[in-house]
């Protein structure tokens, strides 16, 4: 694949990582983490590791986001620091 696509995905991964750390709303942070997982999935697929990309898409973007949201809704939604 061309390096421009690579660079775009890597920049978006960095932005998502920083945004997930800095988000005050924990529900928003978990959704951004799901976006991060999906971008990582795109990166794996672009590097040719399709099995890893599949696992990342199902577990990272699918299940773990739902589990994070379930855990956040059981505690407070606001970040306290």
């Amino acid at each position: 694949m061309t390096w421009q696509v690579d660079l775009l995905i890597l920049a978006l991964v960095l932005i998502c990582a920083v945004a997930a750390i800095n988000a005050r709303d924990l529900l928003g942070a978990s959704v951004i983490f799901g976006v991060y997982s999906f971008l990582m999935c795109l990166l794996w697929a672009e590097m040719g590791a399709v099995d890893v990309a599949f696992t990342e898409a199902t577990v990272g973007a699918g299940i773990s986001t739902v589990l994070f949201i379930a855990a956040v809704l059981r505690t407070s939604r606001r970040c306290k620091d």
Partner: protein
């Protein structure tokens, strides 16, 4: 306008006809795709783990769109634990059976006396048996993780 807002505030979060109908239509196709991923893991990307996660995600979608009671009605908790332990047991049992029949641990070609397929074909078939076990175990573990985390362990109400 105000009455509509009050009505919306009273309704449970995410309780929507569109979400319910689309989730009910999507669930069978997700399950079919999960089974396809498990069975077709020999020829395409995928395998037991991914297919099991997809099968678990279909029931999680059912629990998200309706409520926890509906997903417990379609797939009971005792059934879930039985399937999970069966899945883990299939993998370990296949491995032990290889050793008992006379081969090495996890060497599927030793299972040939049970069914005369030829050692190489048995290795392919052994991988398939093992993937089914992984899929069952992963499906039930993902589902019980979601059930316990979303209801705080009481399994009465979900998100």
């Amino acid at each position: 306008m105000k009455r509509i807002q009050e009505k919306a505030a009273q309704r449970a979060f995410g309780d929507n006809q569109i979400i319910r109908v689309s989730a009910r239509m999507m669930v069978p196709f997700i399950q079919l795709f999960g089974l396809y991923v498990i069975v077709h893991g020999h020829y395409s990307p995928g395998g037991g783990f991914q297919g099991g996660v997809l099968l678990g995600a279909s029931y999680i979608l059912l629990a998200l769109a309706f409520d926890l009671k509906t997903s417990l009605k379609t797939f009971s908790e005792s059934m879930n634990s039985i399937l999970g332990t069966t899945g883990a047991l299939i993998f370990v049992g296949t491995a032990v059976l290889c050793a008992l029949v006379g081969g090495l641990f996890l060497d599927y070609s030793a299972l040939e006396p049970l069914l005369p397929l030829g050692p190489i074909e048995w290795r392919s078939f052994g991988i398939f048996i093992v993937e089914v076990g992984v899929g069952l175990a992963v499906m039930s573990i993902m589902l019980s993780l979601y059930w316990d985390l979303s209801s705080g362990g009481e399994l009465d109400e979900g998100l």
